[in-house]
């Protein structure tokens, strides 16, 4: 009898092929661990960089589940002696993590109120039946809403509206038609553009505000953030619509009957009931609390108050929140923020910032341009490969250690982490529209690179000519 059956060997080989990146990251971390610590870097900093590399490989390759990556980060921080267990635990939980947790739970609570049909009616009354106006309307509403409540919530509510219109047009070939592509992209890209508008637009904004405060670099209130970022959003929406229109010019210039059918369909739904009115009321309360209370109690606690109210008023069951909240992502962002804090504390962030500026200095003689390139372009590119919040959690401490005005650098990096136009995995909204099966992967790049360049240029103009006026 052989020691191992053919089946066991086959299963083992299957595991090896599926986990090759895990094995590679293990070997890489061992090799790097035994290499001498580079000059100017502390041994703790050396070890934290090893953890960052392992985490990046595992997140990108998805060879183990995201919560497992989060747990591994925490284990490695303690086992490699970067910090004590208590130190790691305290860096793991912060207001930014409360915010990410609260906003994901709020998203589930809002989506479950059945407000999507109301929203459809409002959007269509605003846009009329011309296709270009519908595209602009989708982009505008997605941007404005996602600036307050998180892009995935908006995409979830807007998607059925777009799908209904596409279906009602009655095309023979819906998949990857210009009309379906442009309508779905107007939601995803609109939501991405909008998510920079306020601190509550995305977890990454809260992470950056948390870093600035934690590292003693400055306090940013909700309204100050809006003053910096909202004009960019308002300028980007029409330009992005223009780019999308000329990239995916649909043959249907008017969608008269599709709009009419959809209006009839949504008009059948009842008027707002008491529960829905209460749900809107709670959200308005949360919004004003973010503006007026968050400087005192934090963005995360305000989001959690909102969740508490939704649960207490019976507007949503805990089972729904529990089932639909991505706890794995919360764990991962917590671990990534802990990693960011440890990078700062061990001096690894400073060392990496110095090295990055040194190497980038070979290309760009001017340090400001080099810093700008790393802060905006590198963050923007990495956000399209990783997740935006994970990107910012890791890159945040590095860019903040590059010198210059930390507020400008921090907000720029945070905004650049929303330039998630190029790939399916760039953001949950890109994944949501791709999951419909109506969009081809290559279409993301087709329009995305133009939007990416437009966003970088606009951010450069605004940060150079507008931000100095309001500081």
């Amino acid at each position: 009898m052989p020691i191992l059956s053919e089946r066991s060997i086959s299963n083992f080989l299957y595991w090896v092929t599926r986990k090759k990146w895990l094995i590679l990251s293990f070997l890489l971390s061992l090799t790097l661990f035994y290499l001498p610590t580079p000059e100017g870097l502390s041994s703790e900093g050396h070890r934290i960089i090893i953890i960052v590399l392992v985490a990046l490989i595992l997140i990108m390759s998805e060879s183990i589940p995201l919560p497992a990556v989060a747990i591994l980060i925490l284990i490695m921080e303690v086992v490699l002696g970067v910090d004590t267990a208590d130190g790691v635990a305290s860096s793991f939980m912060s207001d930014a993590v409360f915010f990410i947790m609260g906003s994901l739970m709020l998203a589930v609570s809002i989506v479950y109120q059945g407000l999507d049909k109301r929203l459809a009616l409002i959007v269509l009354n605003f846009t009329g039946n011309k296709t270009w106006r519908i595209v602009l309307g989708f982009m505008f509403f997605s941007a404005i809403l996602s600036s307050f409540i998180g892009e995935h919530t908006v995409a979830a509510m807007m998607l059925p509206v777009a799908l209904s219109l596409i279906k009602n047009v009655g095309m023979n070939k819906i998949r990857s038609s210009n009309l379906s592509t442009i309508l779905l992209f107007s939601i995803a890209y609109g939501a991405a553009i909008g998510s920079v508008g306020t601190p509550s637009g995305g977890g990454r904004n809260a992470i950056m505000i948390g870093y600035l405060s934690e590292f003693g670099l400055g306090k940013l209130s909700y309204l100050t953030w809006m003053k910096f970022a909202y004009p960019l959003l308002l300028i980007e929406v029409p330009i992005a619509t223009f780019i999308l229109w000329f990239t995916f010019k649909p043959s249907q210039k008017i969608m008269d009957s599709a709009v009419r059918k959809l209006k009839v369909q949504v008009a059948k739904s009842d008027d707002l009931n008491g529960q829905q009115k209460l749900a809107i009321g709670v959200f308005v309360f949360v919004f004003f609390s973010w503006i007026f209370l968050s400087p005192y109690i934090g963005l995360g606690i305000v989001a959690l108050i909102g969740v508490f109210l939704y649960l207490s008023f019976g507007l949503i069951d805990w089972s729904e929140i529990n089932r639909n909240t991505n706890w794995g992502v919360i764990l991962l962002f917590g671990a990534a923020i802990s990693l960011g804090i440890q990078m700062k504390e061990t001096g690894a962030a400073f060392w990496l910032a110095e090295k990055a500026l040194l190497y980038i200095g070979v290309v760009f003689q001017n340090e400001n341009i080099g810093r700008w390139f790393i802060t905006v372009v590198m963050t923007g590119i990495l956000t399209n490969i990783l997740s935006s919040a994970a990107t910012l959690a890791v890159l945040g401490p590095i860019v903040l250690d590059m010198g210059g005005n930390p507020l400008v650098t921090g907000i720029s990096a945070s905004i650049a982490s929303a330039f998630s136009y190029l790939t399916i995995v760039a953001s949950p909204t890109c994944m949501i529209i791709h999951s419909t099966g109506l969009i081809r992967s290559r279409d993301y790049l087709k329009a995305g690179w133009k939007l990416f360049i437009m966003s970088v240029v606009l951010l450069m103009l605004i940060s150079n000519y507008y931000w100095p006026l309001i500081q």
Binding site: D116, H152, P160, N324, G328, I424, V425, S427, T436
Partner: protein, 294 residues
């Protein structure tokens, strides 16, 4: 007997479904059709879930259901299944999740005999492997892929026979090319070959090969046994005896109007992993449908 047919889209799955169902009816097998949708990144998996729940309230199908609906209608239109309109069936398409990323689909008001529809999401090899484990299928039928690693992974990791429907044209009259070699699964190859040849009254060609000029005694006995069996089953066949490299001989004997049937290699999984195998090489090189029997 149970057969699994993997489809992907309306544009490319017609021939896989057609030939797959012919094989299933020849082997009197119950059939499951699976659509494996693209893997959803973990960052967005819950969001996509919420969206799927939401679009159901708008009476939209989840992505993938329409492909299964099309497959169901395709089979009914081509008389592979009989559809009964059944009032007891759900009023709208219903998905019952049996495990993570696996749902059984029940189409509204319809019931097809001996047919199940499954929706999965994820890495194609991983999902097919799980589905075969879950359902204990004998044969997995799938369309051809240009990716060489795909055929390697299918043979290496899927625990069922693999039928790759490559360049199949339903208008052509096909012949079976049955490879008689020392594969441990040769009896099963014969069983499938005889049933398919008899069901469709198609001609069967046996191909045997020995590297050296002389066939070994053991191999001669095997060929004799195969001939005897085919005569007894009254199958119309002819034989090709070759001396050369088995892979080259099969490729030169197989035209695009053949369906190749051969047993999986008996080498150890490690040898197959690093060095490949004759069935794998034939699968990669041939321009016609091929069934590798495990």
């Amino acid at each position: 007997m149970k057969i699994l047919i993997a489809i992907s889209s309306k544009e490319y799955s017609g021939s896989t479904l057609g030939l797959g169902m012919k094989v299933a009816s020849a082997l009197k097998a119950s059939t499951t059709i699976v659509d494996v949708g693209e893997k959803i990144n973990e960052f967005g998996s819950k969001d996509v879930n919420i969206v799927n729940q939401l679009i159901e309230t708008w009476d939209f199908n989840r992505p993938g259901v329409e492909v299964l609906e099309w497959a169901h209608d395709f089979l009914a239109k081509n008389n592979f299944i009989e559809i009964k309109e059944d009032q007891s069936q759900p009023l709208k398409n219903k998905l019952i999740e049996s495990e993570t990323d696996r749902s059984e689909v029940f189409l509204k008001g319809k019931i097809g005999n001996n047919l199940s529809l499954i929706l999965r999401n994820g890495d194609i090899i991983g999902e097919l492997r799980s589905e075969v484990e879950f359902g204990g299928y004998d044969i997995t039928i799938i369309g051809g892929s240009k990716k060489r690693s795909m055929s390697h992974d299918l043979i290496q990791y899927i625990n069922s026979s693999i039928f790759i429907v490559k360049n199949y044209n339903p208008k052509n009259q096909y012949k079976l090319l049955l490879v008689v070699d020392e594969s441990p699964n040769i009896k099963k190859v014969l069983k499938y070959g005889v049933r398919i040849a008899k069901e469709f009254s198609i001609k069967l060609t046996l191909i045997s090969n020995e590297d050296s000029k002389q066939f070994s005694k053991k191999y001669e006995n095997l060929i004799r046994y195969v001939n005897k069996l085919l005569r007894r089953c009254k199958v119309n066949y002819n034989s090709l005896k070759r001396n050369g490299n088995l892979e080259e001989e099969i490729i030169s004997a197989a035209s695009d109007k053949h369906i190749i049937m051969m047993g999986a290699s008996g080498s150890s999984p490690i040898t197959k992993f690093f060095k490949g195998s004759t069935p794998l090489n034939v699968m990669n090189r041939c321009e016609c449908p091929i069934l590798i029997v495990k």
